[in-house]
């Protein structure tokens, strides 16, 4: 099992690097992040045993990422809407 996950991680890394050299416009970022998230999930689920852990562990692990999204989402909410009201400056 661990070896399989390990292989998947290596393949994922290869794919990330490969994809980075192909110009896909904004898709590059999406693919890059998607692959990184898949890799991270593999590590969390298998190497960090969350797959076999209690619900509480799931909740705790998710909470960290969820709060990160709050931080990112709300802050970007400011940056993306700056200057949108007429007459105000960026």
């Amino acid at each position: 099992m661990y070896y399989l996950v390990f292989l998947a991680l290596l393949v994922g890394t290869g794919a990330t690097v490969g994809a980075a050299f192909i110009d896909m416009g904004w898709m590059n970022n999406v693919i890059m992040l998607l692959l990184a998230m898949i890799k991270a999930s593999l590590v969390i689920l298998f190497f960090m045993h969350v797959r076999w852990s209690s619900r509480l562990t799931w909740v705790v692990a998710m909470a960290g990422f969820f709060w990160l999204l709050i931080l990112f989402g709300v802050t970007m909410g400011d940056y993306l809407t700056r200057g949108m009201v007429e007459g105000t400056l960026r």
């Binding site: 709050i70 931080l71 802050t75 909410g77 809407t81 949108m84």
Partner: protein, 533 residues
């Protein structure tokens, strides 16, 4: 021979400094926090003296700037944030949940040492000349312009941050894993609920301030330019990151006090709380929604208008759970058996002052109005109403309530009543005029001010004198009680709860036999098991 308890079980400095007993660690915190409180209070007093006259004549403007910075830093990071959690929480959580200790006693001791180390950094910063950035450390002033000891102070905050994190971690794990048999979540004392919610904020918020102040230090030392406008950096990003922690941190300061009030109100009206689950869940709601409102500190700082609106509406939403609590406390007293012992007086004080402080928070959350009152004394009055009028009242109330348990001694009740009265009167005299000053437009952090503001400032300084005396009194009679006070029985108030079932002061391992819990706390009415809403 005296019966063995946690105080006399082991003597000498070593037995205290190396203890892993949560109760002894609580006392270590009590001592250090009190020291910082008086230090911060001294700073405040000099501030008030300076503001007696419009001209900046007592101290230089640089000194003044350092005074309010050190006052804010000490009071927030070294007094109020650790106050109730690290003293009362440390002492009571294991007892209230029927455990022998916190989950990680060594880490508990470690967090005290970390706190002390952080405190030392701050003292060094203060003694070697001080910091003058304001407790908010706004860039680029803090990174590029200030030439005071910013790095030392920032590191002090960074370090104590880890103390908070470890305390929060310990509480969370303890509440999840160490509850006595039968102690379901909905039988937990509300104090435990509120500290659980507080711990969530410790865990989720503190790391962000840690990295933020670290970046400020890095920018100063290594000339990396994360917030530097010259590199396209945005000073407002610092403010986002700072308030992402520091707004939730204000709930770190108030939630534990709310927990204390929940306990006191029940104990002194001999009645279980009205709407237990509303009070419990409102703590969680405050902790969680509290993370979504930070931008109300920067309405006029150049963030987008739409972001401002989001933060504004959520700030109003987060006020509702606080309102729920206040109403439930009030309803709890109805049909109770109300006594007027000193803890209850503090609780009354809390209720009134927190209500005013909280409602004036709504003034600030209303964007159009905040334009005018932002960075004026109105804000200063708002937060002192909540932090001094609310949180410290809660802290003092809790100390008075549990002091017999902690020390095993009774303090002189008439003096305690008198002190409570002095604090209340002095407090209002100090900070009420500041609302008026703020609306008149007196900016905060002003060393000198136009003459027409003087009368109100004089009133405020007078009040601060009364307040200082009010704070000195408990210090005196608590100390006195340790040596001269009558021995306290296990349950001096006729209150209910696991902490009142064990001797005062408790034995080292709290419980001889792990208790089996069959109902919630504060069940006074003799008859049936009381259901919860």
């Amino acid at each position: 021979m005296e019966t063995l308890n946690y105080i006399n079980n082991g003597h000498g400095l070593g037995s205290w400094l190396l203890t892993r007993d949560h109760k002894r660690i609580a006392l270590l915190y009590l001592a250090s926090i009190t020291a910082f409180f008086f230090l911060g209070g001294m700073f405040a007093f000099v501030i008030r003296l300076e503001l007696l006259t419009p001209a900046g004549d007592l101290v230089s403007s640089d000194t003044y700037n350092k005074l309010f910075t050190m006052h804010g830093v000490v009071m927030v990071f070294f007094f109020l944030i650790p106050s109730i959690p690290a003293v009362l929480g440390n002492f009571l959580i294991p007892i209230m949940i029927g455990a022998k200790d916190l989950a990680f006693p060594r880490i508990n001791l470690l967090s005290w040492y970390i706190y002390v180390l952080g405190g030392l950094f701050t003292l060094v910063a203060a003694l070697s000349g001080g910091v003058d950035t304001g407790w908010t450390f706004y860039t680029p002033y803090s990174t590029a312009a200030a030439n005071s000891h910013v790095i030392t102070a920032a590191l002090g905050i960074f370090i104590t941050g880890f103390s908070s994190i470890l305390t929060g971690l310990n509480f969370i794990v303890t509440v999840h894993r160490m509850r006595a048999p039968g102690l379901t979540w909905f039988r937990l004392p509300l104090f435990v609920w509120s500290l659980y919610a507080t711990s969530l904020i410790f865990i989720l918020g503190t790391p962000v301030i840690a990295i933020t102040v670290l970046l400020v230090a890095a920018e100063r030392t290594l000339h990396m330019g994360i917030f530097d406008p010259a590199l396209g950096g945005d000073p407002v990003l610092f403010q986002h990151l700072f308030w992402f922690y520091s707004h939730p941190a204000v709930y770190i300061m108030i939630l534990p006090a709310m927990g204390v009030i929940s306990e006191i109100v029940q104990a002194f009206s001999r009645k279980n709380i009205f709407g237990y689950s509303f009070v419990a869940f409102s703590s969680l709601a405050i902790a969680i929604i509290g993370f979504l409102v930070w931008g109300h500190h920067i309405f006029v700082a150049g963030q987008s208008v739409y972001a401002g609106m989001l933060f504004s509406i959520l700030s109003f939403v987060v006020a509702v759970p606080s309102a729920i609590k206040v109403f439930n406390w009030t309803a709890t007293i109805y049909n109770g058996s109300v006594s007027f012992d000193s803890p209850m007086l503090y609780a009354f004080g809390f209720l009134g002052l927190f209500t005013i402080g909280g409602l004036t928070g709504l003034f600030l959350a209303a964007m159009g109005l905040d334009i005018h009152v932002h960075d004026t004394y109105f804000v200063v009055a708002h937060f002192h109403y909540i932090m001094v009028g609310g949180a410290i009242m809660g802290y003092l109330g809790g100390l008075h309530y549990w002091w017999p348990k902690i020390s095993g001694r009774l303090y002189p009740e008439p003096w305690a009543k008198f002190a409570a009265l002095m604090v209340f009167v002095g407090f209002n005299l100090t900070f009420f005029p500041q609302f008026v000053l703020g609306y008149l437009g007196m900016p905060r952090r002003y060393h000198a001010y136009p003459e027409e503001f003087q009368v109100l400032n004089v009133a405020s300084t007078l009040g601060a004198t009364v307040l200082a005396a009010g704070y000195l009194l408990p210090m005196i009679y608590f100390t006195w009680s340790i040596f001269r006070g009558a021995k306290a029985p296990a349950d001096p108030w006729g209150a209910r709860g696991l902490e009142w079932e064990i001797p005062s002061p408790p034995p080292t391992e709290n419980f001889l036999v792990t208790p089996i819990v069959t109902h919630g706390t504060h069940q006074y009415a003799p008859s049936k098991e009381v259901g919860h809403v």
